[in-house]
């Protein structure tokens, strides 16, 4: 087992380096650079574009005239040797500060969403499998498909519109205006909770629906297996038998998704966050990509790639812990 973990970790290093190179190249692929984007957006807003001298000065300062491999080396060597992810052009601040500023909210939302998904989908999934083709199963299936099919941002827009027209609620954001920049207090916490459920529900719909379907399908497979019949035949009480054997086997997908929490912490659902005006890392990444703010975009992507890789490792380990069949293969 230890050797397995070690081998996995060693494989991580070239994987992450390869990812960093590919993301950097992809970010550089679109024509133009940060400054042409600035020029274009100034012009689009009706503002005066920068003049040629100023442009040349900024090009020099940001090193945008260097070939891509030199820019890549500057960036990656800073990360490897100094732990420095570089500065964002558009914010004029270190990338790490920008990410840190948005981390608490992003983490809170991601964890709450995951708990929400589990809390809802687990009982429903089990119910749907055990009462297959009952009225309840049909209702949950219907709602589940709806949750999978409707894009999150659309639900967000609809909820916002309802909140606005019927409740006169302030649009977007996580706090009422009076708490927005207040230091954390009990009252602010309460205010946040009152707003928090909206993004959690929106982010959670697709995940919940997906998990219900997976759990239902897995459990249906399991309860038809001979060992279940055997257990029943021995007179084990139905409830205890279900939880102890088939459910335990069917619950695998829950653990294999633990790994997804980690990248989710960084690359939170960008479009929904943007629509709901949540200050998470999602919109930060989205705007950085659109502005070709390459160190910011590259670093956020790199961090989330590292988290995907680590998360997958953790998932595998958790699965191995849960399921002896996985464990004994190594």
């Amino acid at each position: 087992m230890l050797r397995y973990i070690l081998r996995r970790i060693l494989v991580l290093i070239p994987t992450v380096l390869a990812i960093s190179l590919i993301t950097f190249i992809i970010i550089q692929l679109p024509p133009g650079d940060y400054l042409t984007t600035v020029q274009a957006s100034l012009a689009a807003a009706g503002d005066r574009p920068l003049d040629a001298a100023e442009l040349a000065r900024l090009n020099e300062r940001y090193g945008l005239n260097d070939p891509w491999y030199i820019q890549y080396w500057k960036w990656i060597s800073g990360i490897i040797f100094h732990g420095d992810f570089g500065d964002s052009f558009s914010y004029g601040r270190p990338v790490s500060d920008l990410v840190q500023e948005r981390l608490p909210l992003t983490v809170t939302l991601s964890v709450l969403t995951l708990l929400f998904i589990w809390a809802i989908s687990f009982p429903i999934g089990v119910y749907s499998a055990l009462r297959q083709y009952s009225a309840g199963d049909y209702v949950f299936t219907f709602v589940g498909y709806l949750g999978l099919a409707v894009p999150n941002f659309l639900i967000a827009l609809v909820l916002m519109w309802i909140g606005l027209t019927y409740f006169g609620q302030s649009v977007g954001g996580l706090f009422s205006p009076e708490y927005r920049d207040a230091p954390w207090s009990l009252a602010k916490f309460g205010d946040a909770l009152a707003h928090l459920w909206i993004p959690v529900v929106i982010w959670g719909t697709a995940g919940t629906a997906g998990n219900i379907r997976i759990l239902r399908a897995n459990l249906l497979d399991e309860i038809r297996k001979p060992y279940v019949t055997a257990a029943r035949a021995r007179g084990i009480p139905s409830r205890r038998m279900t939880v102890k054997y088939p459910v335990r086997a069917a619950v695998n997908p829950f653990f294999s998704t633990i790994g997804w929490i980690l990248p989710g912490l960084i690359a939170a659902d960008a479009i929904t966050s943007q629509v709901l005006n949540l200050n998470t890392t999602g919109p930060l990444l989205l705007n950085a990509l659109m502005a070709q703010d390459m160190y910011l975009a590259g670093s956020v992507l790199l961090i989330s790639a590292i988290l995907v890789v680590i998360g997958t490792l953790i998932s595998d380990l958790a699965l191995a812990w849960l399921d002896p069949r996985v464990r004994f293969r190594y």
Partner: protein, 662 residues
């Protein structure tokens, strides 16, 4: 409006600007000039000042009484050096302004807070060079010497006095610092020679140019920083420049920056650095690049008053929530959560939605007169990379034919909500330079005339599908670049190519991401066949924005290589020498820069326009209708209508510090 007797852009070179004295007379006049606004609130409130109205914010009085601030007379310039802003109503102090900003869009902050140039443009942009942070500017006969008079007792927002040293610092240590500015800002040069600055006394600086600088006052009225000689507080900024502080690099490194240049770039931005002293009415306390809201608090040392001597601004605090998405902004506006806005979502398609919500959201429309003269101008690339295409595009008959083959009224009806009228790339109907013939030439929709002109251009042969062939026998076919996101351009251009097809011209709409659009049209790439853009510079800014009159800079999309030749004085390898008639326009433009007599300048400009009219470089579509801003009904002293210009940071020139909440 159309027949303004004097040229708006230029004031007499000998005109001595007198500060408060001259303006007070104007102020009493304007008191009676309060007109109704669209929102229905017609009667003017507070037309006479309430008897017990305090002359400074009660918040400041408290701080003075607590000993935290000097009294008002010590904070403000001496009485005769204060700038008096005429207001329609006498404001009362207090209130928090609720605004929005789209992500890192500092442009809106510039426009709302940061229009404090040395000399100003008037609210209607009909006069330039009126007193700003400077009390007055004396100009000599040849417009080569400028004596800048500072306001005595003027202070930065941290309470430090503003003196001639600050101006000298801006010129000698900032703009003439060849690390910060490898080329000296054009504004401080004449005939490529830098001007010299001389400190006469504590409150006077004299600038001497080697040649005529006729546009000094107009240029200085603009919002951008290189033109602002009083935007650089020496006592604060000098620490960051190695010439003045040997420790500058160490300070920068200690603050986590790689060198002093990086730190300087960070420190000089008012929107990201709350420590930077300013002369604006509100100074930033919560910066743009941190958190989710920008906050700006009242500057207790602000130097403007209304005509009863009440210190501006009236509003205590400005809050701009950073919003990620303009649809969210629109929802907020509909919900009445925004006190004033004129950007992002204030466009034609959203007008009906906002108009409907005016009552429930308790806001009104403020008219924003476009300075643009066209919704969409189609620029065929006269410098096309392919010689055969170039000769077709350069044929004026070809362009006339295309122009006749556009159903402009149809486009106006379907795309622009029936606002505006058919228009070429010609000055706005409100402009002093309006020429009906120029504006209306070739704008009828007439396919027969179109075909006739196209035949005359030598495109007589057609292929099996009915498309016209080039002289070399190939089918004439080209792409028109349109930026993604400008939905109306895409819609309008799609209609244009349909009617073009009816006269045998094959064109396709090529929707591109903005930066790719820009990349393709750069002089070095020159990859575009044709593209479309709005008609900047049609009203109030005709002489400031020359792009559509002749190939004058990189935004002259129809001939970027000729423009490159002009801006680089023929030095750039990607420039191309234009034909004689275009060079004649360029010569006229150079004469215009040197001409100090406004009448002569106008005459030269008219000659440029005459040639532009005859050359017919690009094809216009429709004159834009008025735009609009939204303002909450309880926000008062906002003008009913103002011209929009990025050069003068609209609405900065209508003086937001004089706004108040009723």
């Amino acid at each position: 409006m159309p027949t303004s007797p004097t040229n708006p852009a230029i004031i007499s070179r000998r005109q001595l600007i007198v500060g408060s004295g001259g303006i007070i007379g104007f102020a009493t006049l304007s008191l009676t000039g309060c007109s109704p606004d669209e929102g229905g609130e017609t009667e003017s409130q507070n037309a006479t000042p309430p008897a017990d109205r305090p002359l400074e914010s009660p918040l400041l009085t408290e701080r003075v009484e607590a000993g935290e601030l000097p009294p008002m007379d010590e904070r403000m310039p001496i009485a005769e050096d204060r700038l008096v802003v005429p207001t329609t109503e006498y404001g009362t102090y207090g209130g928090e302004f609720a605004g929005v900003i789209l992500d890192q869009d500092r442009g809106w902050l510039d426009r709302m807070i940061h229009y404090e140039p040395t000399v100003r443009a008037t609210p209607q942009l009909d006069e330039f060079g009126t007193p700003g942070t400077l009390k007055s500017v004396d100009v000599n006969e040849d417009a080569t010497e400028f004596v800048l008079h500072l306001r005595q007792g003027l202070r930065w927002s941290d309470g430090e006095p503003v003196t001639a040293d600050d101006v000298m610092f801006a010129i000698q240590d900032v703009f003439f610092n060849n690390t910060l500015y490898p080329t000296i800002p054009e504004f401080l040069t004449a005939d490529d020679q830098p001007c010299t600055a001389e400190r006469v006394d504590d409150f006077t600086v004299k600038l001497t140019y080697t040649g005529t600088r006729a546009d000094f006052l107009v240029t200085a009225s603009r919002g951008e920083q290189p033109k602002n000689l009083l935007g650089w507080p020496k006592h604060y900024l000098q620490d960051f420049i190695p010439d003045l502080n040997p420790e500058a690099n160490n300070i920068a490194v200690a603050a986590g920056f790689s060198d002093w240049m990086d730190y300087w770039s960070d420190r000089k931005n008012y929107y990201d650095n709350p420590d930077l002293p300013t002369l604006a009415a509100w100074s930033i306390t919560s910066p743009l690049n941190e958190g989710t809201v920008v906050v700006a608090e009242r500057n207790p040392y602000y130097w403007k008053t209304d005509d009863q001597g009440a210190q501006l601004p009236f509003i205590d605090l400005l809050e701009f929530e950073i919003v990620q998405n303009d649809e969210v902004m629109l929802l907020k506006a509909v919900n009445g959560e925004i006190d004033f806005h004129a950007r992002n979502f204030n466009n034609d398609p959203n007008r009906p939605v906002l108009a409907d919500a005016r009552e429930s959201g308790d806001f009104r429309f403020v008219t924003v007169e476009p300075t643009s003269m066209n919704q969409m101008i189609i620029a065929l690339n006269l410098n096309h990379r392919d010689a055969a295409m170039r000769s077709v595009f350069q044929n004026k008959d070809f362009r006339i034919g295309l122009s006749y083959a556009i159903n402009r009224q149809d486009i106006i009806d379907t795309v622009y909500q029936r606002q505006g009228e058919p228009w070429q790339a010609a000055p706005h109907s409100n402009s002093d330079f309006y020429d009906e013939e120029y504006a209306k030439q070739y704008t009828e929709f007439d396919l027969e005339l179109a075909a006739e002109h196209l035949d005359r251009a030598g495109l007589t042969e057609t292929d099996g599908e009915g498309f016209r062939l080039r002289p070399d026998g190939q089918r004439l076919s080209f792409q028109v670049d349109v930026t993604a996101g400008t939905t109306q351009h895409i819609q309008a251009m799609s209609l244009v190519v349909q009617t073009w097809a009816e006269v045998g011209i094959q064109a396709t709409v090529n929707t591109l991401e903005r930066s790719l659009f820009y990349d393709r049209k750069s002089p070095s790439a020159n990859q575009h066949d044709a593209n479309v853009w709005g008609g900047d510079g049609g009203f109030r800014t005709e002489q400031d924005e020359l792009r559509w009159w002749f190939p004058s800079w990189s935004e002259s999309n129809y001939a970027v290589r000729w423009a490159e030749w002009y801006t680089s004085d023929g030095a750039s390898p990607t420039g191309e020498e234009p034909p004689a008639v275009v060079r004649e326009q360029m010569d006229l433009a150079k004469q215009m820069e040197l001409e100090s007599d406004p009448e002569e300048r106008d005459a030269l400009f008219r000659s440029i326009l005459e040639i532009a009219k005859d050359q017919f470089y690009a094809i216009g579509t429709a004159l834009p209708g008025d735009g609009y801003a939204i303002a909450k009904n309880h926000l008062r002293n906002v003008v009913d209508s103002y011209p929009e210009s990025p050069l003068y940071f609209s609405p900065g020139h209508v003086d937001p510090p004089s706004w108040y909440f009723a």
